[in-house]
Structures are given as structure tokens and as C-alpha cells.
Amino acid sequence: MKGVTGSSLVFMALIGVACEGAFNEGSPDTGPTACEAVKLTEKPLRRLSNAELKNTLRQVLGAELVAGLVMPARTTADDGFDADHQALQVSELVVEQLHDLALAVSLSIVQDPLLVLGCDLREDEPKLCLEQLIDDLVPRAFRRPLSGLRRQRFVELADDLLAEEELSVATALLVQAILQAPEFLYRLQQTSGEGETPGSERLDDYTIAHRLSYLVWQAPPDEALLSDAAEGNLGDAETRVAHVRRMLADARAEAPLRDFARQWLGLARLAEADKDAERFPEYSAALADQMREQTERFVAQTLAVAQSPLDSLLTDRELPMTSELATIYGVEHSGQSTWVTVSLPAAERAGLLTQASLLTIGGHQVEGSPILRGVDILERILCIEPTPPPQDIDTAVATAGEDEALRTNRERFEAHIASPQCASCHDSFNPIGYALENYDAVGRFRTHDNGIPVDARADLTLGGELGGRIDGPVALSKKFAQSDAFAGCIQRKIARFASARQLVEADQCRMDQDVEAMKGNGHTYLAVLERQVGREDFITRPTAVTKESN
């Protein structure tokens, strides 16, 4: 249901509109007053995403027990993000799969209880072994100290199990219960009193600790965070910012950024990108998967490792490359390892828009689609949602050979939108796609289409900073990289990913302020995170209603 939810309709960083009515209405008042008026944002309850679940299992149980576990089915929100509290709502299938996962772990444990037990099986009483397990494993699984009541409940379960079963079976079943508990599978929030803002509650330090660690690592808090949580230090903004800097410098920050890239750019669509075998014999599911991984690696490398400005995403030419992908890009691969970084020709490539992943998604089986590519860039790179076609419009497309005068892919699409009814909206995104006509349906650079020199000039009709004539994909990327529209959009996409919910007015207000503050002053991923976690809003939530109103 991409493009039909409300949020992306409301806040568009659109600087100018070329065709009246081509876009939905722009942002409401986003000045300082509006920001002040809405200080708090909701922090809806959410289940751990698959990435978070896997990392949490690994940290709690160790890599050996987690290897080979099948994660539950993934669904996406209507805008394509699967890190979303509603998409993470369970179904009958997912609950069964979460159970299967806990069962699989417990079946390993029953074979070798010492995978989780720390006691001496010959010397210690079984009850002592299980109480040790509860005191060690449960706080790590729940990411906070265990309350007396909860400890008692698990101790009683352990006693009941030992009354019926031998220690290995009881251990396995106890772990099953822990791995299906709400405190393990959900990011439950606890509060520690009123917040500074009227109508708010202050999240407790352990909740703040896991908000920080899942934000940067998609993993539970480490000892340093838990230590500060135990000492009550995480209410201090500078302490939180220091943790973010520390965590982003850690290699664990890369995987979440790869996940962000996958969701933001819809890279999972590559799994269903079908190409004509005759035209593209080198194309395969494995190659498509490498395209996905390449872009994910590129984003993580740019934002976490190099900590480059966000606009580098649209300009950098240093790209991780496999030997198979090198044939698509027409470059040499050193063969030193599976993935090597290659500097791409400046005249052919610049950043994400020119990478094989997005170009392949933006193509049909035989030809690239200026429409798909243009709309995708509008929505994902510029956060502009084109108005959909009227419901009863005819959507026929000309094909090669239908009209001998239509020799190139571009000419066929130009003919398609020739009528004023179509052109009024297609003019806003087709030209973006025309600028990418230098690439075929799998992203290979080409100078000719059907024997005719490619025409990648485009008159962008978006208006303002996004308008004007450009010539080719590199110029297109450079123009968008320098735009306020992209700066606002990437800020928005990061916030969407981090909050796991649709964004609201208060978010937009802050994002506008942040972008303005960071303009020319280091608009990096780190800077975005620092501003986010430094706010009071990060450690508070609106006072919860916990009782039915009469």
C-alpha cells in the first residue's frame, strides 16, 4: 500500500511545484511556535524486529545456540518499513514461529544443558542450578534487573518443572518460557515519575538504555550502558550523546545501517526482480542479492565507518564490488577478496541513484522504466509523493515495434505521456527517469539504445532548487545531493526508521530545525543521532492512559 498512508502525504520538503495539483498539500506550520507546542512524541510498544531479536538472542545465549535459527515471518508497514510497531504486531503464524524458535533453542539445551547452566552438575542441587540460571539469564534477556515478583514466578516454575522432569528437560523448558516472555520479545517501557514537560512521564534509565542500544546497534545494552542505567546517569543529555558517539564507532553500528538501507530503499524488492534471461544471461537471483548487499554495504560504509555527510550518499563513487557485479559496472575487480572497494568512473556513476540495485528495481524484464525510477526517487530520495493518476484514466504503454518511429525506450515513454492529461503529472517524474536512460534494466551503463545515442538530458519540472535542465545521471545526482529536499528527506527517513512509527507534526518540526542547524555544519548520521538523543523527548513519553475511561 505504498503511498496511501497519511504521513508521507503531509510533510514534504517540496520547494516548488511545477504542475498544479500534481502533489498533495505541503507541510503545516513548522515554525518554532509549532515545535514548542508539541514537545512529546508517542513511543508505541513494539516487538523486537527480526534483526533486534537475532542480536538479542546472540548476546543472551551466545552465537553457537543462535546459529541456524529461523526468524519469524516479516511484514512491512504500508510505506515499506518493517521496523514499525504495527507491522511488528503478531499474527497466528508469527506466534507459532516465535514458539518454534524457542523450541529449537530448548532442544539444543536439552542435549547439553551446560550451554546455559553455570553450575556443577555433579555437586550442585538442581534447584540451585536453575535459580542461578534465572538470576543470570533473565536480567540479560529482559535488559533490566529482575523484580522480586518476576523472580519468584520463574523460581516457582523451575520448582514445578523439577518436580516432574530431570534437570536437562527442566532447564530447556525454563528457557522456553523466558524466550517467549513479553519482557524478552517486546521493548516494554517503564517510567520513573513525571517528566519535565507537563503531561509527560520520564522513562526509567533501563528503558533509556535500550532505546539507545537498539537505536544504534539493534542490540541490547552493553555493560557500559547498563552501568550508567544502574547509576541513574542516562537522564543527562551529554552522557547519552557520549554513548552514541562510542557506539557508532563500534563495528556493531554497521548492520543496523544496512538494515536501514534495505528498508528505506526497498531493496527487498530485488528478490522479485525478474529479468529476461535472453537479454540478461548474467542476471540471476544470486546477482540480485549481491546488488542488494552492495548498496547496503555502501550506506553503512558511508554513514558509520567514514561518517561522511549524508549528501555523500548521492555522490560517492567508492563502491563495494564483487567480481560478478564488476561485470555489470564494467570495472576491474582485484580478486583479493569477495568484496573489494572500487572507484567508479566519474562520468558514469555517482552515488545511490546510479547503483545497480535501484536501477534493476526500476526496470521491467527487458527495459528500464523511467516511470518506476522517477517515482521511486521522488518518494524515497526527495520525500515527494506524486498525485496518483485519476482512477479511471487509461494507462496503456507503447511497446517496441508498435510504432517504427519510436526507436528508443525514452521515445516510447514520451509517447505514452504525450496527452496533456498524463503529462500534467508524469512531467514531474518521467524526466528524472530520462536522466537515467544511460542504464539498462540491470544497471549497465550504455551510450546507445537500440543503436541510437542515448538522450539523458532532462528538463526537471519540479521547480525551485529541483528544477531546470540537467544532462545525465551524474548531474542529476549532484543536483539532488545539494538540495534541501534531499537533506530533509534523508533526515525524515532516518527518523522514520528510528522511531518505528509514522511521523507526526512534532517530528517534522524538529527535523526542519535540525536540518537548518546542521546545514553547512556537518549533516552526518552521527549529528542526526546526537540531536535526537539529546532531546528531553528521547527520555519521556506522554503520560499513559492505562485505564478504560467511563
Binding site: M1, V4, V90, A181
Partner: protein, 459 residues
């Protein structure tokens, strides 16, 4: 607990299930009559109306299939000729609800409306708090016909991998329900526990102990529900309920006397083989009464599967009206019809009470858009089976444009479109015995009420 050996009864991938495996005298024939089952099948790209429509009834009329000759079948509906007595073709319904909704990508809008008949979620909506609670009709029906200890509903798709994002089914609270693909994985999920070793080991003790652990977990969720803000409770309530049902199901299925099918053997790169394997699992799950409701999405054929290598189904054919495109999209519709008919024939070959499984099952074939131009008017609906005698089959009904759109709304130059499919969704509820349901999705669309089942659909 006593269980029969469950191997080798259903020979998948071979001869007809019924002929070879479920003789009339079999004590393991399908569950007794009176049960109603629902299968909703969906396809994309709409249809070629001129090659789908049968020239047997004028607008506003219906016609019996009695005495129908094969030549009377339209090209796309021809695979249903042998099933005509159990076939109901509904020509001319509209997604009036989608026309009245905000504009968007019509594939997305259409797939949302197909089983909800409601407006897409807006910013600030709490789907659980909407008066239709964010549920698609398959889930609404399944919640009420589900049996304790069985699956509430199953959701399949014919992709060649194991899990796919769902497009049509929505859980209470509005979340999309994931679809399962891959018959081997589905077989393992549905029947894997049937085949466990009976020799007791620590591992079997762990398996047997899990139902009591699930009860412990269910109580954990019960306790957690009250601790979270009101708007978050549905998430933990759903989790609590599904955990409770899973514990009950594990116990119930352990005591079920029913033969599990063999693990399916098929070429996962063959779309037809994937569908055959899925359909035999659907049949087996009905025979074992594992569920009463299945949603089943057929993903599009590629152009080369239609004999057009080097072409692009979407770009070269789906939205076009030249002779080659019409021919290929007609073939596309016919191939989809063969798959739908395949499930119907499989079910019709299995005895159930005084009839067959098809007689107690209602199959509905629908989709996101009506035709290749993304329209929401004149949807090609095919219903198959009896719904336990509730559905008036053996007929072709052609509706006129009787639904008046809101003032100022025109569709293809008219203020009227065919009856809103919301009536059909209500009809599905009634066919499944839920006759107290008066509306699905919305009660009113513009000036027109959308209450009650579709006229001409039910007996």
C-alpha cells in the same frame, strides 16, 4: 494419547487424491457435512473483460448454466466448464468503496479494499479502534468459525520461497498478515508434529512439556496487558490469545486421528507444481479439519511462461489493448482460471458427507484491480462450490450500474457503478453461517447504503 500412523495416506504429486486415497469406504474420509469452509484466491492485473464475460445474460439479468455448451464459455472462464453446476459468475460488481476512498496506487488501494471494503488507514488512525477493527473479512469470518485446537486461518502464496509479505489479509488491529509460500515448509508446519518419533527421550519430553509452558507464557501476557498504555494493549492481547490457542492446538493435534500427507516433492521453480502442492495441502488440511478458512494469493505469471520470452508481462501486455497484448492477457487470465479450477477439482474429488469437499467449501476468486487499466468497476468475480448449500450456483449474474456514487463523484463519466462489493463480503459472512452480519467495512458509501448480502448470490 493414541495416534494412528499418519504416513502414506495421501500420495502427493501423483494421482487424484480422492480416487487413490480416500475411497468411499474409508473411515478417514473428510469431516462430516455441515461444516463450511472458505478459500479466497487472489490474482493480479485484473482481466480482459471482453474475453472473460460470457454472452449469456443481459445487464440486470441472470442465466442458468443448465444446458450450457462448452462453446458458450468465454475464453478465460473455459477451465470452469466441468464445474459449471457449482459455479457462480458475478459480472459487474464494483469496488465502490475504493472509488470513494482517497486516490493512491490502485494496486495498493484495490488490494486493501478487496477484503475490507473500508477506507485505507489515515494518519492518526488507530485501526483497532475503528468500528470494523481493521480486520479483513477472511479474518472476521475465521475468528468466528475457528475451532478450538485448530488453526484459525491459513494464508498461502505460490512464491518459491517460504515467507512473503501479505497483500490482502489484515489482522485485528490492521496489521498485514504474512503469507506462507513453499509447500515443504507448510507441510512441516501443519503436519510435522504428526510424524514425531513416539519413543520417549529428553527431547520428546521437551516437546510434550511445551503446552504447559505456553500456558505459563499466556499468563505472563495477561499480566503484562494491564501494564501498558491503552493504545498498546491490543498487541499484547493478540499475543496472549495466539499463545493460548497455540497451547491448546498442540495438545489437540497430538490427539487427532488423521493421516498426514507425505512431504511434497515438486520442482519449486515450476509455478504449476508449486500450486498443485499447495492445493493438495489445502485439501489435506480440510480433510483433517485443521482450519476452515484459507487465503491463497497467486502471483503473476511472467511473459515467458505465456510463450513470450523477451517480453515483459507488465510493460508489454498488462496495460495494453493491441491484439498481441489482448491475446497474452487472455491467456494469463485463463492460466489463473486453471489454477483456481484445479483447487476446485481437487476438493470436488474428495467425498464429504453426502457430497464432496467442494460442496462444503466456498472458493472466491478476486483481485486488486478489475482490468489492465487499473479500474475499480466491473470486477470479474468467480465463486465455486456450495458453501454448504448457501450459495446459488450454476448461474451467471450480470449486474447493472445500480450503485449511485456520492454527489460530485463520477467514474468513467457516470454517477453510477455496479453494486459495491461490500455486499459480496457480507454475503460471504452469511454463506459461512454468520447471518447476523449486516455490513462489512462500511455501512454507507455516499448516498447509498451498503447493508446486507449481494442480491442473487445466496440461496
Amino acid at each position: 494419547m493414541s495416534r494412528l500412523s499418519r504416513r502414506h495416506l495421501l500420495q502427493l504429486g501423483g494421482t487424484s487424491l480422492a480416487a487413490s486415497l480416500l475411497p468411499q469406504s474409508s473411515p478417514l474420509r473428510a469431516a462430516p457435512g455441515g461444516i463450511r469452509r472458505l478459500v479466497i484466491m487472489t490474482t493480479g492485473h485484473g482481466t480482459v473483460l471482453d474475453n472473460w464475460r460470457m454472452d449469456v445474460a443481459k445487464e440486470g439479468e441472470d442465466a442458468s448454466f443448465a444446458g450450457l455448451e462448452p462453446a458458450h464459455m468465454s475464453p478465460i472462464l473455459s477451465p470452469f466448464y466441468d464445474l459449471r453446476e457449482k459455479l457462480l459468475v458475478l459480472d459487474g460488481l464494483s469496488y465502490a468503496s475504493a472509488i470513494c476512498d482517497q486516490p493512491g496506487n490502485n494496486h495498493g488501494i484495490g488490494s486493501f479494499h478487496a477484503l475490507t471494503g473500508a477506507n485505507v488507514f489515515k494518519e492518526g488512525d488507530d485501526p483497532a479502534a475503528l468500528d470494523w477493527e481493521g480486520m479483513s473479512v477472511d479474518v472476521r469470518i475465521a475468528e468466528r468459525v475457528a475451532q478450538e485446537g485448530r488453526y484459525r486461518s491459513l494464508h498461502f502464496t505460490d512464491v518459491n520461497y517460504n515467507q512473503a509479505d501479505g497483500h490482502y489479509s489484515r489482522e485485528r488491529g490492521g496489521a498485514k498478515i504474512p503469507y506462507e509460500g513453499g509447500a515443504k515448509a507448510i507441510h512441516e508446519r501443519l503436519f510435522g508434529d504428526f510424524l514425531v518419533d513416539e519413543v520417549e527421550t529428553p527431547a520428546t519430553r521437551v516437546r510434550k512439556g511445551r503446552a504447559s509452558i505456553l500456558d505459563f507464557v499466556r499468563q505472563d501476557y495477561e499480566g503484562a496487558v494491564a501494564s501498558v498504555p491503552m493504545q498498546d494493549r491490543i498487541k499484547l492481547e493478540l499475543h496472549r490469545d495466539f499463545v493460548g490457542q497455540l497451547g491448546t492446538r498442540i495438545d489437540a493435534l497430538a490427539n487427532l486421528s488423521c493421516e498426514a500427507p507425505e512431504e511434497p516433492v515438486y520442482d519449486k521453480n515450476d509455478k504449476y507444481a508449486r500450486n498443485t502442492a499447495l492445493q493438495e495441502l489445502i485439501a489435506a488440511s480440510f480433510i483433517c479439519d485443521l482450519t476452515r478458512v484459507v487465503t491463497y494469493e497467486i502471483r503473476p505469471f511472467s511473459a515467458d511462461m505465456l510463450g513470450a520470452p523477451g517480453k515483459d508481462l507488465h510493460q508489454d501486455f498488462a496495460h495494453k489493448s493491441d491484439p498481441e497484448a489482448v491475446e497474452k492477457m487472455t491467456q494469463f487470465g485463463q492460466e489463473n482460471a486453471k489454477i483456481v479450477a484445479g483447487l476446485a477439482k481437487t476438493l470436488d474429488s474428495i467425498p464429504d458427507g453426502d457430497g464432496t469437499l467442494l460442496d462444503s467449501t466456498l472458493i472466491v476468486w478476486t483481485g486488486d484491480i478489475a482490468d489492465g487499466t487499473h479500474h475499480f468497476a466491473r470486477y470479474p468475480y468467480v465463486l465455486l462450490g456450495g458453501g454448504a448449500g448457501m450459495v446459488n450456483t450454476g448461474r451467471y449474474v450480470r449486474y447493472g450500474n445500480s450503485h449511485r456514487l456520492p454527489t460530485g463523484t463520477m467514474y468513467k463519466g457516470s454517477s453510477y457503478v455496479g453494486p459495491a462489493h461490500n455486499h459480496l463480503l457480507v454475503g460471504l459472512c452469511h454463506a459461512m453461517g454468520q447471518t447476523d452480519i449486516e455490513w462489512v467495512g462500511q455501512k454507507k458509501l455516499g448516498p447509498t447504503d451498503v447493508l446486507g448480502p449481494l442480491p442473487g448470490m445466496l440461496t
